[in-house]
Assembly symmetry: C2
Homo-oligomer: 233 residues x 2
């Protein structure tokens, strides 16, 4: 079983009200590509937020930007200089509460989608209805990590794909019960997709094709560790 | 540019002194595969540790296991019941200081390789010398994360591949300087590869083919955030 990571090129600027499913399918068609059953469509949240109008314009100063960031944070875990690690209302822990200025027009900042799982579900429905195929959708954002240098992409919205694969009770090759119990599979899909998206190239969509996922579908919110379980708040 | 994730099947039990390069190349040949220039060979650390003899046998009780774990930890970040989140001497922060019992014979525990970057470098040299191709190697381990449920694979040893891609000073599609500065690319490669490896299937090697990596090669240790920079120790 070989898995393919396929970048979707030619997706232009997305603005409020755009139908992302059409945008994606038209760009794919222009590149001679079409969706297949069990494809996972991975989309950076930025174009989802833009299509949903989750942007703030007219942000001229650093202090206006900081104010928006503070407004998006429900709790602040750490501050160092201008860097703020905050929890969003979705439960994501990330720099600047997910408020982003890169790949946006000057004066525009992009917020997280209001409900990334709902966004993923809507996009999946549109893609499935248009193509007749069984599709998964993962919406991603780029977060830093505790203890590790460098950011990577994570799954913030999921539909039609497992988010966590539970190995509890399964046996390993030696017949021993597995110690690794739950794998954050949608985060691995998000990280994999980023390998063909590239921060500077501005490729906001890719297809992960050929995955053999037997676990039931999950939600992006399943990947948020509840604060009461979390040793690092 | 499509990237392929190719599992290498048929790799049997590895024991001390085995030549991993030969084991990998023979399994690939048996499956009709051969290495190509710029392939990245991703290997779970478990077979590297076994080949290097980084195992402890005769571990009969939970308390003996706990003692080994304590011995592998240079500092303990958190404890909850039997769970210990500790820093290894390599600087990795993970559960049970990287000491692992699954996919090992009863009574045997597997430690981390002494120097995963050196292990990656040696394996890469052997693969390159045997095949004449330019190869990258990433050695992985499976870690939990702060704030997120589920474990994912991370890069602990790297050779011939960038570990971090630095976008500092680059401009985005709108000519704005990128906010995302450093991407943990080798961690994304590790996570991607895990999509075809599968914890329960016991596939310890895969190939990531078709990556277009322009950054200079790095080391796994580059991904360790120095404690003085880290907000979450």
């Amino acid at each position: 079983m070989t898995v393919q990571l396929i970048p979707i090129k030619g997706i232009g600027e997305v603005t409020k009200g755009d139908d992302l499913a059409s945008v994606i399918l038209e760009s794919m068609a222009a590149g001679g590509l079409s969706l297949q059953d069990r494809d996972v469509v991975v989309v950076t949240h930025k174009i989802v937020s833009k299509a949903e109008g989750a942007v703030v314009t007219g942000v001229e100063s650093e202090s206006e930007y900081r104010q928006i960031v503070e407004g998006q944070a429900v709790s602040v875990l750490r501050r160092r200089g201008d860097l703020m690690i905050a929890e969003t209302r979705h439960g994501f822990v990330c720099a600047n509460a997910g408020v982003d200025r890169s790949n946006a027009a000057p004066g525009t900042v992009v917020l997280l989608p209001e409900d990334p799982d709902r966004s993923a579900h809507k996009l999946r429905n549109r893609l499935e209805n248009t193509t007749g195929k069984s599709i998964g959708v993962v919406i991603t954002d780029t977060f830093g990590r505790a203890w590790r240098r460098g950011v990577v992409d994570f799954a913030i919205g999921v539909s039609g794909v497992p988010s966590i694969v539970d190995y509890r009770g399964l046996e390993d090759m030696q017949g021993r019960v597995m110690e690794v119990t739950e794998v954050g599979i949608a985060d691995e899909i998000a990280a994999a997709a980023d390998l063909v998206m590239g921060k500077a190239d501005g490729i906001p969509v890719s297809i992960v094709r050929g995955l053999d996922l037997k676990a039931p579908p999950g939600r992006g919110s399943d990947l948020v560790r509840p604060p009461e379980e979390d040793l690092f708040r």
